[in-house]
């Protein structure tokens, strides 16, 4: 937990804390889940690991635990994502993972997941599939939630230590939704705490280019769970768009759909350009390069914090670091590296 004092002063309203998940080994919250699942794989006697990845963060985390436990690892990644996330592809290779380029469909995260599921049905006897987000068939949404709930548990303990009370608002970005669910889960019964899940609004919620399945999607069934999806009137899945590859998924974990329907969590959208502004803002004021995913969460903090009372405590999950996104950001800002 980290008090973002300069951002708090600059925004002039609520007190802003960051949960610094980007300081985890491999640079994101993803490792929490991978350690849990690889131990499960060991326990079940499976000696090969497969995973899907979008931005490459989950792939890197999976490759890392596989290196540590000496298990062969194959990562399925959309051909398009391989192109736009070259540094993570190289990292995975250094860690000993085999990368399979997925050429089918939209060649991004959902297709990587399709291909990993196909590979898994062909190898289920000796292979464990480490899914990276709180989605997929049962029991993955629960497994991933429980392994990520450490984020919220620590947050609760640490804010009570720092402030002597619970926070007023928790804010996290949502792609599949694992970091948000991990942060929110231990707070679900604390009704005084407002919860905000920030989806990628891409080029705007009024355009067709976004990844806001909760805000703009409708219920459907994909990858073994019923959840809000971006799909057309014939139930064909629509490609999502976000500047952040990690949020670029047309579905969302089913528990978020439930939390939307029972109105426990407010789901909002932040656009590509707002996330970019937040990215620069955080770098300049706090000396932290956030990943583009939590830059969406920060974009929302920047919107609401100035309007809130000085006693209001916001905790935002800074779920990943931004080194991987430097090329994307430079490109978006028109800078040639």
């Amino acid at each position: 937990m980290y008090f973002a004092s300069r951002i708090t002063r600059e925004l002039g309203g609520a007190k802003v804390y960051f949960k610094r998940d980007e300081l985890n080994h491999t640079g994101a919250h993803k490792i929490n889940n991978c350690i849990g699942q690889v131990l499960l794989a060991k326990r079940m006697g499976k000696n090969k690991i497969i995973a899907e990845t979008g931005a490459g963060q989950h792939g890197v985390a999976t490759a890392t635990v596989c290196a540590l436990f000496g298990l062969p690892c194959t990562v399925y990644m959309g051909a398009k994502d391989i192109e736009r996330q070259a540094p993570n592809v190289f990292r995975m290779k250094l860690l000993g993972a085999k990368i399979v380029a997925v050429e089918s469909g939209s060649q991004s995260l959902k297709d990587a997941m399709n291909e990993a599921l196909r590979a898994w049905v062909s190898s289920v006897e000796d292979t464990f599939y480490i899914i990276g987000t709180a989605a997929g068939p049962h029991p993955y949404p629960m497994l991933v939630r429980d392994f990520q709930a450490v984020i919220g548990e620590e947050t609760k303990e640490q804010i009570i230590e720092a402030e002597g009370r619970l926070p007023d608002s928790l804010i996290a970005c949502i792609g599949g939704g694992s970091n948000a669910l991990g942060l929110f889960y231990p707070f679900l019964d604390d009704v005084s705490v407002s919860l905000y899940g920030v989806e990628a609004a891409g080029k705007g919620l009024k355009t067709k280019e976004h990844a806001a399945s909760l805000s703009l999607g409708s219920p459907g069934v994909l990858h073994g769970n019923r959840t809000y999806l971006l799909h057309d009137e014939d139930g064909q899945i629509i490609e999502a768009h976000s500047i952040s590859a990690g949020l670029d998924y047309p579905g969302v974990g089913p528990e978020h759909s439930y939390l939307k329907d029972v109105k426990r969590v407010n789901y909002v959208g932040i656009k590509d350009d707002e996330a970019l502004e937040a990215f620069k803002f955080c770098a300049k004021l706090e000396g932290i390069l956030p990943a583009l995913e939590p830059s969406h969460a920060l974009g929302y903090v920047m919107k609401i914090a100035p309007k809130l009372d000085k006693n209001h405590i916001i905790i935002m999950n800074l779920c990943g670091r931004g080194d991987k996104d430097v090329f994307t950001v430079a490109d978006a800002l028109g800078v040639k590296l």
């Binding site: 089918s104 469909g105 959902k110 297709d111 399709n114 599921l117 196909r118 049905v121 062909s122 190898s123 289920v124 006897e125 409708s218 219920p219 459907g220 069934v221 994909l222 990858h223 073994g224 999806l229 799909h231 009137e233 014939d234 139930g235 064909q236 899945i237």
Partner: protein, 276 residues
């Protein structure tokens, strides 16, 4: 047990004649609506006993590259669930006895509306349904309402379906049970006869529902080998490849495409029928 009459009657007839059935799979709307309708109409005369129609979906998780590509081609041609129901309706204009089974994924049906879909598909002449991403735990979604309307809900059993799991899979199945011959996706590995034989024996000890074997059967010789140990043989990816190959050679010559497809389907049918 008496649900979709056409499928049940077909297996009774096959048994009387001591024959193994041939189930042919094609994708609705691939390479386009009209050709898929013409191919469908021609299949019974080429020896198909049951016709399975794939409902195109953007994310077919259980299918290999061949069927994936056919789904994307069909979607590009504007195929949707409404047109797939129309395809059956048009087929039924001159054929009232060949069973038609739709195979696919749940989301397009869910979005269309399950009740509306079952009603319209039944009226069009549908006999059975295979929804690969609905396990028995979700029977209230489609399986139970389909059964009530006398549409057979056909379930897949695989080499990893354990003796403990099989009764759950068989429970609400009717028409036939689809045994997946390989661990994997459609059109991938080559099935091993000995393993299939062993597993079918186990299933037969639990139920008298007919068993069709599919996934990975591509050639007449494979079809022949499988026919000796099953009630029906399913061939899909290989037929789709044949149609597409012919279409790519001469997309405007429908007769050529029909002839190429027919020659292949006949070769499968002949292989199966010489089993004795």
């Amino acid at each position: 047990m008496i649900r979709g009459r056409r499928i049940e009657n077909k297996f009774i007839k096959l048994k009387e004649e001591n024959k193994t059935g041939l189930i042919t799979f094609i994708t609705a709307g691939d390479p386009n609506y009209n050709i898929s309708l013409e191919v469908m109409k021609s299949l019974p005369a080429s020896g198909a006993d049951i016709i399975e129609i794939g409902m195109p979906f953007t994310d077919p998780m259980a299918d290999g590259p061949g069927i994936q590509a056919s789904y994307l081609r069909a979607l590009k041609e504007g195929q949707n669930l409404k047109k797939t129901i129309e395809l059956i309706k048009n087929f039924r204009k001159d054929n009232d006895n060949t069973p038609v089974v739709l195979m696919g994924y749940y989301n397009p049906i869910y979005k269309f509306g399950v009740k509306k879909f079952l009603k319209e598909a039944k009226e069009a002449g549908l006999d059975g349904l295979i929804i690969v991403d609905l396990p028995p735990e979700a029977d209230e979604e489609v399986c139970n309402p389909a059964n009530k309307m006398n549409i057979d809900f056909i379930r897949l059993a695989t080499p990893t379906s354990s003796i403990n799991r099989l009764p759950t899979i068989i429970k609400n199945s009717s028409g036939f049970l689809y045994y997946v011959s390989v661990l994997g996706i459609t059109g991938s590995k080559t099935p091993k006869i000995e393993n299939i034989k062993k597993n079918i024996k186990i299933i037969k000890s639990l139920t008298n529902i007919p068993i069709a074997v599919g996934f990975g059967i591509k050639t007449p010789i494979q079809a022949y080998n499988i026919s000796k140990i099953s009630d029906a043989v399913v061939v899909g990816s290989a037929i789709i490849e044949k149609i597409n190959e012919a279409y790519n050679k001469n997309s405007s010559d429908v007769d050529f495409i029909l002839n190429e497809t027919s020659v292949f389907v006949k070769s499968l049918s002949n292989a199966i029928n010489k089993k004795n």
